[in-house]
Symmetry: C2
């Protein structure tokens, strides 16, 4: 985990210490299934780097299984979901199903006595939220979510450390932009709103999770939300733009904008940014690229009483979420992310989606 140095001169803040494996080999066995979204590779990488062993993989599409096995040859292809759910050695199932199927899968996983680690967005309806909450409570299992745009971004992790240590005072406003490249080769479900859940529910979930995390809000009201399809008339159910304004239960405010409009001229898939305004300073993240420079991504810019500081975070912070998640599963703690937080972010992104007014021009 990253820590602040104690000095108070100009260049004060630097991340130190990357996470290490948190368990003995073989102590934490997991499986991967429902490989519908490529995020399953990020989920698997994170768990493996923190000491987890991927024992099984299952998907109804053998080609996806074969591809997974080329990357993780230690895994075995399961014959069915049931084979994984019936294996008492498996402690957690990582999955990246089609979004509107994620809740049902998670409930089956938890009812089989295992923790669940799903790609975001973790669900697409308020019914899903209620059912998943009930199942988690009934089974005592975890329904954890791969909110990758924070959990798998070193600058985003370090920003959380800085906030926690008071580097910018109380965080009163969060602005996030999550532009994404549409590209080619997206599956059919990507363009079907019932299946992907709408843009605010889908990639908006990263944003709301960030807001809750950085401000410490435990709930929020969606005060405005908009969605539109501005540049993709051929796929009318794709929302290529969405934005929303929220007010947290602690008075902090949030705005985010997400889109599928990244220009072909950008060297990255998206110019994702995060702006934290505190009562005593501000932080900006240039997550994936620092446009027009060769700085690389993961640039954290901090302005506070100590001056202006640029802290390149790539390779210096690591991704402590995964090790904490493994420990949480083994120890039945909540150090990586509370269950309440994971569900609240899911609930709010669905509420934003439901509240959204359609715009066009």
């Amino acid at each position: 985990m990253s820590t602040l140095s104690g000095s108070t001169n100009g260049m004060t803040y630097a991340p130190t210490g990357k996470p290490q494996p948190v368990c003995q080999p073989g102590e934490f066995v997991f499986a991967a299934m429902a490989l519908d979204h490529g995020h399953i590779y990020g989920q698997t990488n994170g768990l493996r780097e923190a000491g987890g062993i991927c024992k099984w993989v299952y998907d109804s599409d053998p080609a996806r299984v074969a591809n997974f096995l080329t990357k993780y040859p230690e895994a075995k292809a399961a014959r069915s979901e049931a084979e994984i759910l019936g294996d008492p050695e498996v402690k957690l199932v990582a999955a990246a199903a089609v979004p509107n199927l994620r809740a049902a899968l998670g409930i089956r996983v938890m009812q089989a006595g295992k923790d669940y680690f799903t790609d975001k967005t973790p669900m697409t309806t308020l019914d899903h939220v209620a059912q998943a909450r009930a199942a988690a409570a009934a089974t005592g299992r975890k329904y954890m979510v791969y909110y990758s745009e924070r959990l798998h971004v070193e600058s985003a992790i370090f920003a959380g450390d800085l906030v926690q240590q008071g580097a910018i005072g109380k965080v009163i406003n969060v602005i996030g932009t999550g532009p994404h490249r549409l590209g080619t080769g997206r599956p059919n479900w990507f363009f079907n709103k019932e299946q992907y859940g709408g843009i605010l529910c889908d990639i908006g979930s990263h944003q709301i999770e960030q807001f809750l995390h950085y401000t410490g809000a435990t709930d929020a009201r969606v005060v405005a939300a908009q969605v539109g399809n501005f540049a993709n008339q051929a796929t009318p159910e794709l929302e290529d733009f969405g934005d929303a304004n929220l007010v947290g239960d602690n008075g902090a405010t949030h705005y985010f904008r997400v889109d599928w409009l990244t220009s072909p001229g950008l060297r990255s898939w998206g110019d994702g940014r995060l702006f934290l305004l505190g009562t005593e300073g501000h932080i900006e993240l240039r997550k994936y690229i620092d446009i027009t420079t060769d700085n690389g991504g993961d640039q954290l810019l901090l302005v506070n009483k100590d001056g202006e500081q640029r802290i390149p975070c790539a390779g210096k912070v690591g991704f402590p979420f995964f090790g904490r998640l493994i420990r949480d599963c083994l120890d039945r703690t909540e150090t990586a992310m509370t269950q309440a937080h994971a569900f609240k972010a899911a609930e709010l992104c669905i509420k934003a989606q439901m509240a959204a007014v359609r715009v066009s021009r």
Copy 2:
């Protein structure tokens, strides 16, 4: 005015051509009065650089008049407002009164047959808007506004040129941040909400004016707004934070955040930014500082099909508004800014202020 070069290789866009004086010496005579806000110097500078002659200055405070005369010795101290309003040679009155007095002054100026050029925010109530609209219509005079965070920022001017020339397609979203340093020595009216109008009405007016300008919206709905005092309990009527979300009549959306929380560690009075999302690219402005670098302010970053480009605009674009305003006054045209636009931005910032929910934490 800035123009695009015709080439289509990587570094395509560069501003060329600064405005020159637009009239003969003595052809455009103006006066300055109501020096309550220091913006009067920016207003006066802009008009003088474009060829205007500042003949008179008036303020009830002789010290402010004396200070003005040290900067512009060609001006004469008038004995009263009436002396200026009665001078047929004066074509325009520039003023920076206490905000809630700006409308009444402007109406007197227009009724005296002169155009009015006020500091933003141009008024603080919807009654003011109605009265000023009626007076402008009745007199045929102009009620123009110094929305300085666009009009007096070269990168902001060049962004408008790029948008107009289609560099990023249709602009569908505008995010603006307008942090300001509170500092010391602010006058009493600055802390009295009736007088300054509230933060969304005051410095929020810059933001909404930008939104209308860059998107071409002629009207908008305020869909959410918040204000708060997070760090200045000793001056409870000061709103040190505000944000708002708007939807334009053309479907474009807008979010802005303004505050008086600039950290002492920032080398500038504010890290003002503007983000324009288009259907074919995006533009970012780092208006006053490019934090952690020595690039200076007025950095325009453009991402579109031609790649990523950084265009330093300082000293290269100039401020065409002022010359156009002078020509508009002489020729009775609307090339600098339409009256409808100036009033609509004023109306919307007041509506945002009226809609604002108070937040605290």
